[in-house]
Amino acid sequence: MAGKIEDESNDRVPLRLRPEWSDVTPIPQNNGPNPVVPINYSEEFSEVMDYFRAVYFANELSSRALSLTAEAISLNAGNYTVWHFRRSLLESLKVDLHVEREFVERVASGNSKNYQIWHHRRWVAEKLGLEARNSELEFTKKILSIDAKHYHAWSHRQWVLQTLGGWEDELNYCSELLAEDIFNNSAWNQRYFVITRSPFLGGIKAMRESEVLYTIEAIISYPENESSWRYLRGLYKDEATLYVNDTQVSSVCLKILRTKSNYLFVLSTLLDLICLGYQPNEDFRDAIEALRTSDNEEQDSDIARTICSILEQVDPIRVNYWVWRKSRLPQAA
């Protein structure tokens, strides 16, 4: 939700009393006779918007209009028409965009979940070009230090990397964020983004070995982490045979199974592997057998069916999904 920027002084002078605005006739909001979804307005907001309408409809591209857009934005940073007009003003008045960047930063501090601010920030950065790279990376880093899963910030950061560069430190940055919170799905997504798109890393094939090691370590620490398992699978995108045959994958599954805790994703991964052709050995059969409680799962010689039965029990909210998985298994010989 947008937040209001505190005025520097609490004695705001209404626009109608400011001499520099005395020549302007404010235009009230036209809501029609019985407005649909009627909204009550505060007086200050009404006045600022009435004066904004006056300069907007007159297309007055002046510096007082520019100041007025700042006032309007401080009252409602979501008002996209004000931002549009501000951009027209910035272009027409040839304002130094470094100064504008600082303005956006101040507005963003109270309003970071706001499409208009991020779009405006990108527009400014596009105009500044390559020299904006570091400041944009720093800005997103600042936002992410407060909210490490901030969708707009990540989106902006990805745009910066692809348009202005700066890939060199990005994998490290992902590792830092994951060290703080290994469950940060955005950081895992960014990691995938980097290894697949960075011009410096050679692509997924070149990175697979080191990334598998990294991910396995993360899985061992927190086997209940959905993101790490998905990332591991993603490392073998379009290479199902490699995934099935990688002993690191099967052995981490076995290791966690034997702990008899946090094994939900192990079981679903094992199920996927079996469906891709993996043939579990006796160790797996024993480990899975040890998970079955005495009478609630059917005895089944088909290990995949047993896994589905266990999942129906231990992940009951998704029982229909696991029942469906079981129904899709090839008939036991």
Binding site: G32, I39, N40, S42, K149, N320
Partner: protein
Amino acid sequence: MGDLVAEKHVQYILSVQKKKDSFESVVMEHLRMNGAYWGLTTLHLLGKLDTVDVHEVVSWIMSCQHDEGGFGGNVGHDPHILYTLSAVQVLALFNKLDVIDADKVTNYIVGLQNEDGSFSGDIWGEVDTRFSYIAICCLSLLHRLDRINVDKAVKYIISCQNMDGGFGCTPGGESHAGQIFCCVGALAIAGSLDLVDKDLLGWWLCERQVKSGGLNGRPEKLPDVCYSWWVLSSLIMIDRVHWISKEKLIKFILDCQVI
């Protein structure tokens, strides 16, 4: 857990009267068109659409249209693809699509398609798969889907498909239930759902249900009642809504009700 207090929700929508100096009341002025869509659709679902004066709604909507064909979020606001869809949806709800010049609206949207098949929100160029859905949905309602390059639009959406089966706002963007709704919806309308890995996506979507029964929008995020729409409708579009627990979700939603 009680029941849906439908009458109270109807009253709430009909009389959105916030405190005069409440900040929340002023921030939504520019997106009243969206508010109208959500509010009126809700009234329709509750069987109370007739409590609204359709002529006033239509007249207000038309006063939000610009010469280029697009609609703004309110009177005096610039056109944007977001509000253009809401306007068309509300008119469709009232069976009043005949009041607009469909070609004019279509031209506005066609003009927003980019070379790579993506759509911008307006002349300022922001690109997001939300806008792909909006364009396709809107033109479908106007029976003019063939006026855009649907193949390219679909290609762009697929370029936003991630290895987890989900979709982000742009290529490489994190899978997010809201973006997934938009991409799946667009592909459904465009007849290209075969390009979605429904099993993989269905699993990703059903993993959004947490212990409380609510749905989140991404792994390890908190549930929010809005995802009941984004996740649920996505699951329905790919025929896998039975993969979540209906009862637990209903309980969560009713627990979110402010009586």
